[in-house]
């Protein structure tokens, strides 16, 4: 099994605090991974490091074998990385489908002159892009919102919109930052089903989550963080039964 992403002694310090310290793990292609940990464990920092929003203080991140140090998010996107955001980052100045169409940016004719002259290739590309975006919205359960505006959409729908947008880029590795945050039990279950469908399509999914039920249901592999360090790693069952994990969450039962 090939590792699509590998971390080696990854450390990120802010001032005197190590948000992530000496972290090493790998993510296997085709699996659904989850990263969990109590609040402040460094999950958001980790996902920001892996998606290029922060640069590591020390340590390496290898994407398909290549060091990604210093690469900006847009360059990582070119290498097949995608992500959604915990605090939604939906473009409110565009319609829902246009948001998804933006996701497909790298696969379209981006030449400035062609755009200016409204060349046939640009128009055809946009038509195709719109079709695919609509299809993705159907895939994520948003078929009724294709012409809607994000300001009219529910929180849960917007979370799915972000997923549709991320999928539009046809990523190989997709990071979902707390996809179930703010959702009720039904919606969470639906997101779980969606995540499994995404994995079936061949995308390696990494989930940062608080919702244990979701994590245990969908994950092949779980990484537990505490104070920026790896606390445990393994299958959902093994992690669930790990006494250190239990005590970290419950504060030393």
């Amino acid at each position: 099994m090939s590792a699509i992403l590998e971390c080696q002694q990854l450390t990120k310090s802010f001032g005197g605090v190590d948000a992530v310290a000496d972290l090493s793990f790998s993510i296997e292609r085709g699996h659904i991974h989850s990263i969990i940990g109590p609040n402040g464990a460094g999950k958001t920092t980790l996902i920001n490091l892996l998606t290029g929003i922060y640069t590591p203080t020390t340590g390496k991140i290898l994407l398909a074998g290549d060091n990604t140090r210093g690469l900006a998010p847009y360059k990582l996107a070119k290498r097949g990385l995608g992500r959604t955001f915990q605090n939604l980052q939906v473009c409110m100045n565009m319609s829902a489908i246009e948001n998804v169409m933006v996701g497909r940016h790298l696969r379209l004719n981006r030449r400035f002159l062609s755009a200016l002259l409204h060349l046939k290739s640009v128009r055809a590309g946009d038509r195709d892009c719109r079709k695919r975006a609509a299809e993705l919205m159907r895939f994520t359960g948003l078929e009724n919102q294709i012409d809607a505006h994000p300001s009219e959409m529910s929180y849960g729908a917007l979370k799915r919109l972000e997923i549709a947008r991320a999928l539009a880029a046809e990523p190989e590795l997709l990071f979902l930052d707390e996809p179930a945050a703010g959702l009720n039990a039904n919606e969470t279950h639906a997101i779980g089903a969606l995540i499994r469908e995404v994995a079936v399509r061949g995308v390696t999914v990494v989930l940062v989550e608080h919702d244990m039920k979701l994590v245990m249901e969908v994950s092949d592999n779980v990484l537990v963080l505490n104070y920026g360090r790896k606390l445990a790693e393994g299958t959902p069952k093994s992690v669930q039964n790990d006494p250190e994990v239990v005590s970290a969450y419950l504060g030393g039962a």
Binding site: T51, Y74, F85, Q89
Partner: protein, 316 residues
């Protein structure tokens, strides 16, 4: 698409504008009106560029008059002082402004909000100070003469020819702008405005796009400046005055920040405003300030988008 829907697409608007531009001269009875119309068109050109930068890409520039004035001066200096033919001095002016904008764009566009506003303001003011001070080259505060456009040896002074020329150029500019918006580049720009980080993670090089649109809008302003120089026949450092930068921003805000047609409307209203205020032109500044405040408070999207919503079937 139904017939009515087809008529309401952005490109049909272009036909409407073309008709208006062609028809308006039928109402003109003297050359002064042509002159005012030409100024409307020139301002509109700047406004369209600024609209792309502010409305679509979500940036701000309080120094665009600097690009305008610089374009005007470069072509004037090259053609008057160094004897360059106009068909060379004009492209040279555009290139010079483009290069300057490109050079300054990367560091400036890393800033945002107030800092960006302040930096562009500073830049514009610096340009106007230099233009005023380097009297040896620029003729100082009193300005300098610029040779008129010549076609086949005969200089073009007739306002009607200028009107036609600039109207065509403006139509082309609007067409190009509309194309740009309705393309992956345009969507990327709007995404930069909507959420920079979201745009980045889908592969949009946000800084690159900001630089692109900054340079485009600067060159458009320079083009307008170049046309002014050869139409009016002289240039003064006042062209780069920061009050004009503010006026351009007002045109964009008033007409509609994310609307190309809005930019045209904004330019029209603000250029014509002094005409209606003759006799009370001391009130002009107060009214300008009032317009800015009222529009931003009550009609934050600007005239054209707000009115568009009020019409049947209008949305967004």
């Amino acid at each position: 698409m139904g017939m009515l829907q087809k008529l309401r697409t952005p490109r049909m608007g272009l036909v409407v504008v073309a008709l208006i531009l062609a028809g308006a001269p039928l109402l003109f009875t003297n050359s002064y009106q042509y002159d005012v119309a030409i100024h409307v068109l020139i301002n509109a050109m700047v406004a369209v560029g600024l609209n792309l930068l502010m409305g679509y890409a979500g940036q701000i520039s309080l120094g665009h008059a600097g690009f305008f004035g610089l374009g005007a001066y470069v072509t004037a200096v090259l053609s008057a002082n160094y004897g360059w033919p106009i068909y060379l001095s004009i492209p040279a002016a555009l290139v010079v402004v483009g290069v300057l904008a490109f050079a300054i764009a990367r560091p400036i566009l890393r800033l945002s909000g107030h800092y960006l506003a302040m930096a562009t303001l500073g830049l514009g003011i610096l340009v106007s100070i230099v233009l005023r001070t380097e009297a040896g080259i620029t003729g100082g505060p009193d300005g300098m003469m610029a040779p008129p456009l010549s076609i086949a040896g005969t200089p073009v002074y007739d306002e009607r020819y200028w009107y036609a020329l600039i109207a065509v150029l403006l139509l082309v500019t609007v067409w190009l702008a509309l194309n740009l918006i309705d393309s992956p580049v345009g969507r990327a720009l709007r995404a930069v405005h909507g959420s920079e980080v979201a745009a980045e993670v889908v592969g949009v090089h946000t800084l690159g796009y900001k630089v692109l649109i900054f340079v485009v809008s600067a060159v458009l302003a320079a083009l307008a400046g170049v046309l002014t120089a050869h139409y009016a026949g002289f240039v003064t450092p006042d062209l780069a005055n920061f009050i004009y930068s503010i006026e351009f921003v007002t045109m964009v805000v008033l007409g509609g920040t994310a609307s190309i047609y809005g930019a045209l409307v904004g330019a029209l209203i603000l250029t014509l405003l002094p005409q209606f205020l003759t006799g009370v032109d001391e009130l002009e500044m107060m009214i300008l300030g009032l317009i800015l405040m009222v529009v931003v408070i009550f009609m934050p999207k600007g005239l054209v988008p707000t009115l568009g919503r009020l019409m049947p079937g209008g949305r967004r």
